[in-house]
């Protein structure tokens, strides 16, 4: 009785907790300025670092790229000379090629590996939170530490990997000491480190897929693979898209692991774009060319990302 009374009174009366609509036309000049200041104040914490550490250096790099500069003597204006020099230098093609090689090896490995982990840990497995933590651990570990550990693991003479291979009668390769194996070594280490990141993103995506879809599919007699390809992957596509865009951008910018594992060697076999930018600036005193190369890399990454965003309509399903 009393309950229904309360209900009717709630319906009859005007709602008590309604946000008052912002009265746009009633806004005074003073008001507007305050509003703008408030917005600005909230933006500042990220705007200041963005301008100081991203936009500022980008503009500065654009300026440096038009000059010859060994970091010590004053800059000398060369116009587009650095770009022309880079375009005619065969090493530029090599470093982009090595970077693409890295991406082509790394991306499928880390995506399929991360997906497999996410699928496995999305089940009612015992101790799955613990396992999720374990797999995420490498993601938050410093690259220098990870790279040194992988150098030991892949040491040609006394590394664990080659020792294990020898146990099965396989003569292991020279890994990072061999030009043919240096890049695969880096790819393996990178995929291992980033698996956890991909896993976490995809896991979140998996948990957003309603379970009744699976139930319905099961009733219709769909097997595990069928459900994977017809339900999981299409509904996971926004997460997959995010992972691919981020991984591709990071792939083009690969540096830490290369620097720590091979330094771009042996004999330049794993020299990627950013390693070359580093070497040109700090080892060879050619900061102008390095800045030009940075901008070339930026344009390439931008182009690839725009193409990806345009292309997402073809395969990404939202909701």
């Amino acid at each position: 009785m009393s309950v229904s009374n309360a209900q009717t009174s709630l319906v009859d009366r005007a709602p008590q907790f309604v946000h008052s609509k912002p009265v746009r036309d009633g806004r005074t000049r003073n008001n507007k300025a305050r509003y703008a200041l408030t917005v600005l104040a909230f933006l500042l914490p990220s705007a200041i670092p963005l301008v100081l550490f991203v936009l500022g250096p980008m503009v500065a790099a654009a300026w440096v790229s038009l000059n010859q500069w060994n970091l010590l003597a004053p800059m000398k204006w060369v116009g587009l000379g650095n770009y022309a020099k880079l375009l005619s230098d065969p090493i530029t093609g090599d470093v982009f090629l090595h970077t693409v090689y890295y991406i082509v090896g790394y991306l499928p490995l880390v995506y399929i590996g991360g997906l497999a982990l996410a699928l496995a840990l999305n089940t009612a497995l015992k101790g799955r939170s613990f396992l999720r933590g374990i797999y995420f651990l490498p993601v938050v570990t410093s690259w220098i530490v990870v790279a040194l550990v992988w150098r030991w693991l892949l040491s040609p003479s006394n590394g664990i990997v080659n020792s294990a291979l020898a146990f099965f009668g396989v003569h292991g390769p020279g890994w990072w000491t061999d030009p043919h194996w240096a890049m695969p070594s880096i790819i393996i280490a990178s995929a291992w480190k980033d698996l956890g990141f991909v896993m976490v993103i995809l896991l979140a995506g998996l948990q957003a897929i309603p379970s009744d879809m699976y139930d319905a599919a099961k009733v219709d007699g769909a097997g595990w693979w069928r459900r994977l390809f017809s339900i999981t992957l299409p509904l996971l596509s926004p997460s997959s898209f995010f992972v691919l865009v981020i991984s591709l951008i990071n792939g083009f910018q690969v540096f830490d692991q290369v620097y720590a594992m091979t330094g771009g060697g042996p004999n330049g076999a794993s020299e990627v774009v950013v390693q070359q930018i580093y070497d040109l600036t700090f080892r060879y005193g050619r900061a102008g060319e390095a800045s030009a190369l940075s901008w070339m890399l930026f344009v390439v990454v931008l182009a690839v990302t725009v193409i990806q965003i345009r292309g997402q309509k073809r395969w990404v399903t939202y909701g």
């Binding site: 003479s157 700090f282 080892r283």
Partner: protein
């Protein structure tokens, strides 16, 4: 509470920044002047020796304080370059040899040092840090590369010890007899690097660059023979890259463990071998057509932008020529001071292991001049080392590797 704490820390940080900014901006007229000294020479075992020298200097000059910053050798060049580019170099800093000195001087980052008592220094070394008759840096030390050998292994194989009259052929023959792969004992070790290659070229009557310094000159029959001298040891008398050869400390650890009969390396590892049970000594490196040795020196310079140049130079001179520094260096077996007084240096001869310390001075009499090409120096060194390793690993013939290196280096020399 927390917010107040954060604000306090933030304010303290700002104040600290402002204060340090002021301190370096306004030299105080009274009270001690603090100069900064950035170095790599004390890194890895000689930090205490440097601190002793600094203490002696500060005692003698109570109005000057030296603030020491020590960096590892590998990253020192990059760090210095960055500091110079940012306009924040130390007042006094180390210079990694004449080939680094050249570009620094040419780019005007070094202050001229006037009134240096030049007679105190080894004339040739002092001259390698001068340009156009003016002194821009001072040599702090020198070292050379010699042949280390394990006496026990030589005795066991019944081979006579290396002497200064040995040639490559003698070394090869001995190395072959001393190598016992089954026991994990190797006969020889010589790094396959630019620093070895320019020297063995001279030992073989060839040279790295043409006389005018504008072209690579190593791609000749004598140059190929010299490259083979380095490369062909790998896998026969020397461990291969796959064994770990070429990684940091691999060679010295092998020698310390008594598993290596001969080792080509610098006198800077004396200290490392001091506690080794192995019975070892040194000799001047064998030559082929002639004897030639790699001699390295370290320099010390004053920043052109230093606000305390007089004090800075005082420290640079103390660090390179004072008797106190000489005593500390000789007693501790640090690299040799670059002084002229042979009598003071002579005490070095009886400071214990190795017995044949005379070889250090003998080697310094026949120097293989190191090529110096300015800004592209590191790129040139990387190019030749990279190609030689291709040949060492058997992925390229020596001829092919030298062809490729020649092409790369001529491109660098053309600018």
């Amino acid at each position: 509470m927390n917010r107040k704490l954060m604000a306090a820390i933030g304010l303290a940080g700002v104040a600290a920044l402002a204060m340090t900014g002021c301190a370096s901006g306004t030299p105080s007229s009274n009270g001690p002047v603090t100069i900064t000294y950035s170095n790599f020479i004390s890194n890895g075992g000689n930090e205490k020796n440097l601190a002793t020298i600094v203490a002696a200097f500060e005692k003698k000059n109570p109005d000057i304080k030296v603030d020491v910053k020590t960096l590892p050798y590998d990253t020192y060049g990059t760090a210095l370059q960055t500091d110079l580019a940012a306009g924040t170099p130390a007042d006094v800093f180390d210079i990694n040899g004449p080939s680094s000195y050249g570009p620094y001087q040419a780019n005007g980052v070094l202050a001229e040092l006037k009134g240096v008592s030049s007679s105190a220094y080894n004339a040739a070394l002092l001259d390698s840090y001068a340009t156009g008759g003016k002194q821009y840096a001072l040599p702090t030390s020198f070292s050379d590369v010699v042949l280390y050998y394990n006496k026990d292994l030589f005795d066991a194989a019944g081979i006579t010890y290396p002497t200064s009259s040995w040639t490559w052929a003698d070394e090869t023959a001995a190395a072959a007899k001393l190598t016992d792969k089954a026991a994990g004992v190797w006969g020889d070790h010589q790094p396959v690097t630019y620093n070895e290659y320019y020297k063995v070229l001279v030992q073989n009557g060839a040279s790295f660059l043409s006389k005018d310094g504008k072209k690579a000159a190593f791609n000749t029959p004598a140059g190929i023979e010299a490259a083979k001298w380095l490369v062909d040891k790998s896998g026969t008398t020397m461990p291969t890259i796959a064994d770990g050869q070429g990684t940091a400390d691999y060679d010295t650890n092998l020698f310390k463990a008594g598993k290596l009969a001969m080792l080509h390396t610098g006198i800077w590892v004396f200290g490392t071998f001091a506690d080794s049970p192995a019975n070892w000594d040194i000799a001047v490196e064998p030559g082929n057509k002639t004897s030639a040795n790699a001699v390295f020196s370290n320099g010390i310079g004053v920043s052109a932008t230093s606000k305390h140049k007089a004090e800075a130079q005082k420290w640079a001179e103390f660090m390179s020529a004072s008797d106190f520094m000489v005593t500390v260096r000789l007693d501790s077996g640090w690299e040799l001071p670059a002084i002229s007084d042979a009598k003071k240096l002579a005490t070095y001869l009886d400071k214990g292991k190795p017995a044949n310390r005379q070889a250090v001075f003998d080697a310094a009499k026949k120097i293989a001049p190191a090529p110096s090409i300015g800004d592209n120096q590191s790129a040139m060194q990387d190019a030749i080392t990279g190609e030689l390793i291709e040949a060492q690993a058997g992925r390229k013939s020596v001829q092919q590797a030298l062809d490729d290196a020649e092409k790369k280096i001529n491109t660098l020399l053309a600018g």
